[in-house]
């Protein structure tokens, strides 16, 4: 068991240093009235620097990172995070740039934001991007608010949002935050949008459709042109969830297929690290008609003065969605990645990720029945339903994968009966070599055999991870959410 930092604390240990001059000539009580001063010091820990280094180094070793090996989480696009991008994002002129420093001192930062906007517009066939949103879901909320504002200004009362059952949970949750009524509808037998159902549901009270393409089962929607006609035919807007853009670079651009608005997860397709749950960025791109509604501010360039500046986006803007301007460090890494790839590299990334996914599908489908037996995009959705008869769930398969030193794929998502149940969604990305994929295939076949012959190996898995399966019910029933909760439980 790994100790908590609190359990390593010893009075008198020190992990910090301060200058000699602590201004003892100035007295706290003379500066501040009594009501402002805390009654006591806040009790944290007392640990030396070397112990802090060891504590967090040990903790880090309990994690499995992308650099440790295969990380095929579907819809998460765990691709390699280039080192040079990290270095560039740590340049002193960037990291010490204050967001409210005089505009003439931050021309470099603004130029990066401005340039990235242009690149993303070309890659997605959009007219303008905002760099504000901090994450994919934050982008979705921003996008929904833009759509809301668009119809408000046109004096159209639209309040319903269409979302396929294959969508990420963030889609309905974001639409809800914009106070839209979510209308979820079933996918067809091909795993894509049911055009008849879409046509039936789309009306003049509906804002539009939020769509991931390829969708979360990894399938391109072949009806995209029909979908566009149905939504635009009734005056609605088409929203592109960019979570799965990794299958489309240089092949198909959201703007060319009729999408009016798109969010991109820069921490997926554009290679910026996930950081164990962020920070990423969820930039939003729009077609011309929607530009006035983008959040404030936007980055502009004054040709005459050869100067970049931040501009309030005017009275129709939805306003600000965060403090300051963007997750700049993430914006910068994205910019660097696109320039490293170039047009050919971007195409090759999508091409390779699609080949990789189909290669896995081909080799695994005999053992793990695919949700839909057709070529996939950058990810494939298999199922573990064949193993139910041995008392094995997909969860057990995924836990067993850990024993072989790999991170399991996404499981139980997407989930919709009857096709997609007990799902295993695998996204190998372009970063994975054939050798890694072959190794994974071998392991999956081995696990298939174990499921039939030695199911306990799976139901008790994992066996050799830092901890084993957790009691999640206990965590809810007896909540320990801080160290003090734990102490109270021990010494009531």
């Amino acid at each position: 068991m790994m100790k908590l930092i609190f359990e390593k604390s010893v009075k008198g240990k020190k992990g910090y240093s301060l200058p000699k001059d602590l201004f003892d000539d100035i007295k706290l009580e003379e500066c501040l009235p009594e009501y402002t001063i805390g009654k006591d010091k806040k009790d944290l820990v007392e640990v030396s620097e070397v112990e802090v280094i060891r504590h967090f180094t040990k903790l880090s070793k309990l994690n499995y990172g992308l650099d440790d090996g295969f990380y095929p989480l579907g819809s998460c696009t765990m691709k390699y995070n280039p080192r040079i991008n990290e270095k560039l994002a740590s340049l002193g002129n960037f990291i010490y740039a204050h967001p409210l420093a005089p505009v003439e001192t931050v021309q470099g930062c603004l130029e990066i934001m401005y340039n990235l906007n242009k690149l993303l517009c070309e890659i997605n066939a959009m007219d303008m991007f905002t760099m504000s949103p901090a994450a994919g879901a934050h982008g979705e909320l921003t996008g929904n608010l833009i759509m809301r504002q668009y119809f408000l200004k046109r004096h159209e009362k639209r309040f319903k949002m269409l979302i396929p059952d294959s969508a990420h949970g963030t889609n309905p949750a974001s639409a809800s935050m914009a106070n839209f009524k979510v209308i979820e509808f079933k996918s067809n037998e091909n795993g894509t949008v049911d055009l008849k159902e879409l046509d039936r549901l789309m009306d003049e009270e509906t804002v539009g459709l939020m769509l991931t393409n390829p969708n979360t089962v990894g399938l391109y929607d072949e009806g995209i042109e029909e979908i566009e006609k149905i939504i635009h035919g009734k005056g609605g807007l088409l929203y592109y969830d960019g979570a799965n853009l990794n299958a489309s670079l240089g092949i198909i651009r959201p703007g060319d297929t009729g999408f009016d608005i798109v969010h991109l997860n820069l921490h997926k397709t554009f290679s910026t690290p996930h950081g164990g749950g962020g920070p990423g960025a969820g930039v939003i791109g729009v077609k011309k008609d929607l530009i006035p509604y983008l959040p404030t501010p936007i980055v502009c360039y004054d040709n005459d003065k050869n100067k970049y500046y931040l501009k309030d986006n005017g009275k129709d803007s939805i306003g600000m969605v965060r403090s300051f301007w963007s997750n700049f460090a993430v914006i910068l890494k994205t910019y660097a990645w696109i320039l490293s790839m170039g047009p050919d590299g971007l195409y090759e990334a999508s091409e390779t990720s699609i080949i990789n996914a189909n290669y896995l599908l081909t080799h695994l489908k005999k053992y793990y029945k695919p949700a839909y037996d057709r070529y996939c995009g950058h990810e494939c959705t298999l199922t573990g339903r064949e193993y139910k008869k041995y008392g094995i769930k997909t969860l057990d398969i995924s836990k067993r994968i850990m024993d072989y030193g790999m991170h399991p794929p996404t499981i139980y998502f997407p989930h919709f009966e009857p096709y997609a149940e007990e799902t295993i969604m695998i996204e190998p990305t372009e970063s994975e070599s054939k050798e890694t994929l072959d190794n994974f295939i071998e392991i999956m076949l081995k696990i298939s055999g174990e499921a039939k012959n030695n199911p306990e190996l799976l139901t008790n898995a994992p066996h050799n991870t830092p901890i084993r399966r957790t009691n999640d019910m206990l965590a809810v029933k007896r909540p320990i959410l801080t160290y003090d909760d734990e102490l109270k439980l021990k010494n009531p």
Partner: protein, 447 residues
């Protein structure tokens, strides 16, 4: 392409394995009519060294910020960050991993968040902490939405001394919902208490007060919470400079209901505004309406202590449109940074650094007042930010400060157009200054 390992030969072999003659066959259900014809019109790939030259060249269009000390804060503070923080953040296991959905492979991230929840709980004296929100502004907006859900009322009184970006963000988030935002004016640089009393009524869900407020003034939160609670109104406190927690009265001791803590000061670079991180801290009774990720302690099947994401029935991947928020990916690596930072400073370091910030700011204010070139705007208690009215033209001061490698303080008229706030500067001072550098600031400003 060096980031893509498969060779062309391997790709061909794989295509053959799949049973297709070309890559085209794999994407034949993408209608030809909507396919991109030709190549993307972006610059050709750069080599690593070309890329480095290109970006370094752009970075030099910024000022040389490494050697410049900011006299500006306003929601973003340059504090000293020990090298151990940066060094540990380079462990790939922290920054290349995904959200900790698989606890068996994510105890590092999960325990780090748990420890950080414990730190913020002790610093704020609040029972429950969600540290996984993007920034202070979006956290304040989430707190406002949470208050609407908790009270089933629709009115929110919001201080005009809340950070202007936070205020704008709350407005944006609340616009679609049938709610009313009431502006709470200030007097003498602090909340106008008489006005507040007159605004409180049974329809009010919450009051949002920043302390230290945007002008730097420390608000009477205990008095405000007492007023609020007599009408069953929730008090949301917002702190944009978390370093102040070291010496100031904790939100919990002021009986605040929801405390928003912008954690940028705990080991995060300025980064031109992001990414930062913020926490929501609250009372246990409100836990089910919290947005975002909470980590809890449990045991594994061998009885070993283990950490997991918990209280998940609030989240979007489970509840979809009925979730308390849409938030998913947030700013986890910033939590790791903040935890390491607080572990290093510890009880004494946080207290002493916090105290030093306050003293340095008061030292500079005193120097500037004595110079005769500035006068007080308000007589209020402040932490490390304060307003002064300049008798000299601000653009002149700005030029002089930049020449001497100081980032100038914020001209408050950028956000407030009151008559008596013309030619007024908002100074921020942190421990990156010492007596010499502050003496120099005073000298530059009074020459």
């Amino acid at each position: 392409m060096r980031y893509i390992p498969n060779t062309n030969e391997q790709k061909e072999e794989m295509l053959k394995n799949i049973g297709v003659s070309s890559f085209e066959q794999l994407i034949e259900n993408v209608p030809d009519t909507v396919r991109l014809k030709g190549k993307l019109n972006i610059p050709d790939a750069m080599s690593e060294s070309e890329l480095e030259d290109h970006v370094v060249n752009i970075s030099q269009k910024n000022s040389d910020f490494y050697s410049m000390k900011p006299l500006i804060g306003a929601g973003s503070y340059r504090h000293f960050i020990p090298e151990a923080v940066k060094s540990l953040l380079q462990r790939e296991e922290f920054w290349t991993c995904y959200t900790p959905y698989q606890p068996e492979l994510s105890q590092g991230t999960l325990q780090t968040i748990f420890e950080y929840q414990s730190y913020i709980s002790r610093l704020t004296k609040m029972e429950v902490v969600v540290p996984s929100i993007y920034d202070g502004a979006s956290a304040t907006a989430e707190a406002a939405l949470m208050a609407l859900r908790l009270t089933h009322k629709n009115k929110i009184i919001i201080s005009s001394l809340l950070h202007p970006h936070y205020l704008e963000t709350v407005k944006t988030y609340l616009t679609p919902h049938e709610s009313e935002l009431i502006n709470l004016p200030f007097i003498n640089g602090l909340t106008d208490m008489e006005k507040l009393k007159s605004l409180l009524d049974e329809d009010t869900a919450a009051i949002i007060i920043q302390s230290p407020n945007f002008f730097g003034g420390i608000e009477k939160l205990a008095e405000i919470s007492e007023l609020a609670h007599t009408k069953k109104i929730l008090l949301i406190s917002v702190n944009v400079e978390s370093m102040s927690l070291g010496i100031l009265t904790a939100p919990g001791d002021n009986n605040v209901d929801i405390a928003v803590e912008n954690a940028q000061s705990f080991g995060m670079d300025l980064n031109f505004g992001g990414p930062y991180n913020a926490s929501l801290a609250t009372k246990k009774q409100y836990i089910r309406q919290l947005p975002g990720r909470i980590i809890g302690e449990t045991v594994d099947i061998d009885g070993k202590r283990a950490f997991v994401m918990t209280m998940r029935a609030r989240e979007q991947d489970i509840r979809r449109e009925k979730a308390t928020s849409n938030i998913c990916t947030n700013h986890n690596l910033n939590i790791v940074a903040a935890n390491i930072f607080l572990s290093l400073l510890g009880t004494e370091g946080v207290y002493k650094t916090s105290l030093l910030n306050m003293k340095l700011a008061h030292y500079l204010e005193d120097l500037l007042l004595k110079s005769g070139k500035f006068e007080k705007v308000f007589d209020y208690p402040f932490y490390n930010e304060f307003l002064l009215k300049s008798k000299t033209d601000l653009s002149l001061l700005k030029t002089k400060l930049l020449e001497n490698n100081f980032i100038p303080p914020l001209s408050i008229s950028r956000f407030y157009n009151h008559n008596n706030l013309e030619n007024v500067l908002l100074f921020a001072v942190t421990e990156i200054f010492n007596r010499d550098s502050l003496n120099k600031v005073a000298k530059v400003l009074s020459e």
